[in-house]
Symmetry: C2
Subunit: 329 residues, 2 copies
């Protein structure tokens, strides 16, 4: 990692919420499975399975809240939602400890879901030109630091930064190649699989982040029947839907959360349009800019920040009120 220079005044101490979360984790069940997948013939007597989505889960004992499905962003895997780079509790365990069955999905084309390598092999064999290769993207250390808003320049840190920059080297190990470009951008199979997963669970809140922040509404537009709530972290606003599509989404509570140190004051123009259309269709849309509710210094990776459980509590409170109907709503 670079030498870390704190810009400006001393960093505020990041307060965890002080809840007693150190006791044993008691699970009714844990495991993993796949959703979706289709057979692709790649040669004589040789079939592969592609487009499957790997999901791992933990279910707490006792009375449970609505299941929650978490889908990671660009160049990342479900590791995003797990133990933080500096070893603190991740959102996966915290949501379980708050009573929610929690499902982490690796996007199709990433991590344990695998990808379709056949074009790469065909180019190697000379049967397709190099231009056929998928673009494989990943964000480098320097781009991550500023793009994920750890500080204004590589190695410098915002005074109130909540990301555990001392663990940047560990965080950088989460960043892996992103081959989403090989998927149909108008019909990403992860969307279909998320909708299918929500149905399989008998109803779920879908959470997306960054690259996947519009995946929850995209999944609901394919099949809204199992989708009980949409949480979009760090934007993902869809400003060019049809009236019918807005009407579909307006039947589902939606929460949008953005963090601190954005270049321009939120909400973005696309989010203004999205929210205006949804509300005109009768939708229940909540937009939270964390600093405006007194939570400062969060990065793009709010689920890993030092106050990650405080941010989780914002989501949990919204789920309680808007999805589960607690507090009189």
């Amino acid at each position: 990692m670079p030498a870390v220079v704190v810009v400006g005044t001393a960093t505020a101490v990041a307060a965890q919420d002080g809840k007693p979360e150190k006791g044993p984790l008691v699970l009714k069940a844990q495991g993993s499975f796949f959703v979706g997948g289709e057979t692709k013939n790649v040669g004589p007597n040789n079939d592969y399975t592609i487009h499957q989505m790997y999901v791992q889960y933990m279910i707490p004992v006792g009375k449970t809240g609505v299941p929650v499905v978490m889908v990671h962003g660009c160049c990342l895997s479900s590791k995003s939602w797990q133990q933080t780079p500096d070893g603190r509790m991740g959102w996966d365990e915290y949501f379980v400890r708050q009573g929610h069955p929690t499902y982490l999905a690796d996007q199709v084309s990433r991590a344990r879901s695998g990808y379709d390598e056949t074009v790469i092999n065909q180019v190697k064999a000379g049967t397709l030109p190099p231009s056929s290769l998928p673009s494989i993207f990943r964000i480098g250390h320097q781009g991550t630091w500023t793009g994920f808003r750890f500080g204004p320049a590589f190695g410098s840190v915002y005074p109130d930064e909540q990301f555990p920059v001392e663990a940047f080297d560990e965080f950088s190990k989460q960043i892996i190649p992103d081959i989403n470009s090989q998927l149909d951008p108008t019909a990403n199979p992860t969307w279909t699989n998320m909708a299918a997963l929500a149905n399989k669970l008998g109803g779920a809140v879908l959470i997306g982040h960054s690259e996947s922040s519009a995946f929850p509404p995209r999944a609901a537009l394919i099949d809204p029947s199992g989708v009980r709530g949409l949480i979009q972290l760090e934007t993902g606003c869809l400003a060019t839907l049809t009236a019918d599509q807005y009407a579909t989404l307006a039947r589902i509570p939606i929460l949008i959360v953005v963090a601190d140190h954005l270049a321009a004051p939120p909400p973005s123009a696309s989010c203004v349009t999205y929210m205006t259309q949804l509300r005109a269709a009768g939708g229940d849309v909540t937009f939270i800019h964390l600093p405006e509710i007194g939570i400062h210094g969060n990065s793009h990776m709010m689920m890993l920040d030092k106050n990650n459980l405080q941010v989780a509590d914002v989501l949990l409170a919204w789920i309680g009120e808007h999805v589960e109907g607690k507090n009189g709503k």
Copy 2:
């Protein structure tokens, strides 16, 4: 999946061990982290991290046994050790329930560990020829069926087969691209990372399977100090080591397990050499051909077979006797 034809007489009923494993799973801790990794410069002001190894773990409450590290085989991920394709308990949870902190590692270049995509991008950009591309391997449905010994031909099943062939479609979703060919075959970073992990844990038993079945001894040859036992599933015998190398391995208890329906009676010639050399150096080597101890019909994927917990008990008993010194050894 193909139409399933049972060859010969009726399939024997696969007996689970009848232990009460249905209660809550109580964990002292669970989480994930990375081992290893190095920085690679891929352009101006653009660094990536490569060769890191993703590890997820569960630690049971109470007095624990020796930690166990499980590394999957070809074209697979740590999913191998988790919930089976037909929904039964995986070895990960079973070992935890038997008191062992359990660590699942995705091989470097696979799944959540990521891979190095830079050559692929350089070929796409025209700065390297297509011949530079790594060979990416995966075994197709048909090759899996016979190669993993589910039956003698695609869609037919051995009479005593223990693999849950009715869940073959689900199993096929575990099979993902294997880009190990991009790694140095004489110094796979997964070996180094496994040795480092064993040290980090203060001692561990390393388990490899198939492609990774020689990874435990390879890790021990890099640094034996944290390696308390080696378990090699479905061969991986190293028949061409030096006397010094055999002497190093001879200080660690070693278990080799092979399953049923092999083309030739085990042990293979390489395993005979390996065991002879280790025993000559004073090593404690156990070779188990499952049918010879009365456990019939197991496939290459013994950790997913219907009697997977019975097979796990064979490993656990060996760990107890040869690593933990129970039963007077």
